[in-house]
């Protein structure tokens, strides 16, 4: 029998983390009588006087959200990370290791209207979001080793407020995932004298099996080692190291790419497609300011939970938590579906 990736289970290595994912095509054919999500349908009013993220509404702590007209950034009222915190005592015991963690948490509204999302905003409005990401990054990266810009979109991804917004959590240390990437990207560079993701982009452009969107500045692929069913990676083609390296043209093309990708996502199952997404680039802060970032390539990762429809998600549970990541269709199958679905006209506008 000959090996066929869409028929035969196998493992694939994520070279960015060194972990394997188990690919089991055909698992989606099993009957599903488990939990159904509520399909998110963009049915909010544009202004909700009880929503603290709306312009002019007073937040629970008494602070009034100003009548902002584009983006609006404020310090998270319930921050996971704060700057002023005593360091834990040192421990010699290898089984009870504690380390300090200082930081900062901000919330950034994308738009004054509650009933918009990135795919239903204009490219010009998305450019404003990107510019504000860069402003924030400029400020925070001078102080912190890691500035994590991320968006949790949709109730299925634990988003507790439907107003379009993202978060920025800054850390005095490198968290687990960036630390792993830092090591593996550096090792690849040491051997190959090229950034890993630069090589990866080239090979994906040759193989053409996992491409979702391509333009001169950006490539969107379902990575060869994707874990979530419709996971994608949006990679800079200009050897950018961090989000604040982007030229004006690259920012505009990024806005267009984000709009196209998220429109495809919404159109795939005709719903406001939930995901967590975030940016990864070279570490920052005084500690990393003088270190080489040649091994890094700026990229965003999208982790969407949906698997079969607007209401049936992939659960990363049992085997996944205890043993290893496992997926139910091949990355190539997911890429083909995303490539084929319309990315120019949102289903609400049809």
């Amino acid at each position: 029998m000959q090996f066929v990736a869409t028929e035969h289970q196998h493992r694939r290595l994520n070279p960015l983390t060194g972990t394997w994912v188990l690919v089991c095509p055909h698992r989606t054919q099993r009957p599903w009588s488990g939990q159904q999500e509520k399909a998110q349908k963009n049915e909010l009013p544009d202004f909700d006087p009880t929503n603290p993220l709306c312009p002019g509404v007073t937040r629970p702590n008494g602070i009034e959200t100003p009548a902002y007209e584009s983006t609006y950034v404020f310090e998270n009222d319930f921050p996971a990370l704060v700057e002023q915190v005593p360091a834990p005592p040192n421990s010699d015991d290898p089984l009870f290791q504690v380390a300090p963690a200082r930081g900062n948490c901000r919330v950034m509204c994308f738009h004054p209207k509650s009933n918009l999302t990135l795919p239903t905003m204009t490219a010009a409005e998305i450019v404003v979001v990107i510019n504000e990401w860069i402003n924030q990054f400029n400020e925070l990266s001078s102080k912190y080793a890691w500035v994590q810009i991320f968006e949790n979109k949709g109730a299925a991804m634990g988003c507790s407020n439907p107003h379009p917004h993202c978060q920025i959590w800054s850390c005095s240390f490198l968290p687990t995932e960036p630390q792993l990437k830092q090591e593996r990207l550096r090792a690849y560079y040491a051997t190959n004298d090229r950034p890993l993701l630069g090589d990866y982009v080239e090979r994906e452009l040759q193989r053409r099996e996992r491409i979702v969107i391509e333009n001169p500045d950006w490539l969107v692929v379902v990575p060869f080692w994707a874990t979530w069913p419709f996971e994608t990676m949006l990679i800079s083609r200009n050897n950018n190291k961090r989000i604040n390296d982007l030229t004006l043209d690259q920012r505009y093309n990024l806005a267009v790419t984000i709009k196209e990708l998220t429109t495809k996502y919404d159109n795939l199952f005709q719903c406001s497609f939930p995901y967590s997404m975030g940016w990864h680039g070279a570490p920052t802060g005084p500690e990393h300011a003088h270190a080489s970032s040649a091994h890094w390539t700026l990229h965003a990762i999208y982790y969407p939970p949906l698997l079969r429809s607007a209401t049936v998600r992939k659960f990363m549970v049992g085997f996944e938590l205890l043993a290893m990541a496992q997926r139910d269709l091949t990355p190539e199958q997911a890429a083909q579906r995303l490539r084929e679905v319309d990315g120019t006209c949102h289903y609400l506008d049809k």
Copy 2:
């Protein structure tokens, strides 16, 4: 200011995987207007003629589930892993690494009645489950490097059938988590000449801050490095290496411990408490049969998603997926709550 773990964010190291978890107490005070789970309430009939896991019901593939009276094991009708599968071709490219994966997937019903769960079964009935785990493990471990016994309980944990059951996925290779543990446990043993979890149990018994249940054979703790809000680890105190090492007495005490732990879980929020749990012990199969297992200690891990109530769970999203695991209360706070909640009388019997 002095460091107080219940007030000040900090990081803790998981010595079994080498990854850090960010501990942010007080985050549970933020308002929650996000997704609510449906509280699971043990309201099923004991027999459902449409449920393929019930005795005497015909499954979608035409096979009839026999009229079983205790446990019942069958091959998963939609297996993620099968034994006969061609191996993928070798790849020299470090960015496109593929590896073979052979295996087997079984489903094991715990009891003929649909409306029972481990906490509402008797200890004697749980002993039958443990014995069948051991039977299965004996058979499968002769062939496979890793036999993952795991239970997904509750719709919130992706369980697609409410009948009490677990799964057994066997692999021709060591999956990511066991592989990491294998390396780290071995390294600790090489330095300390003692199994890591043996030392850990001793120190938890001295510190007494994270103990949930203790008896001569078993210790249940919220690990110092727990990720999920009410995560626990059930650890052998007898230097057992694998589940099939257990004596009859240890099995009986295990049944009593499982009943007590899961009763505490159900009583915590007065619901059928969802979780994923599974067993980890020394690797098996021809490859590991002659290797030393001195560094291993048999243990089970429980990953429950609930955070605040029967309907509000912890979401591992944005920051957690992109940066690192993060928890919203300290392991000591979780342990105290689990220690104090009744473990002898189930709330349904009150």
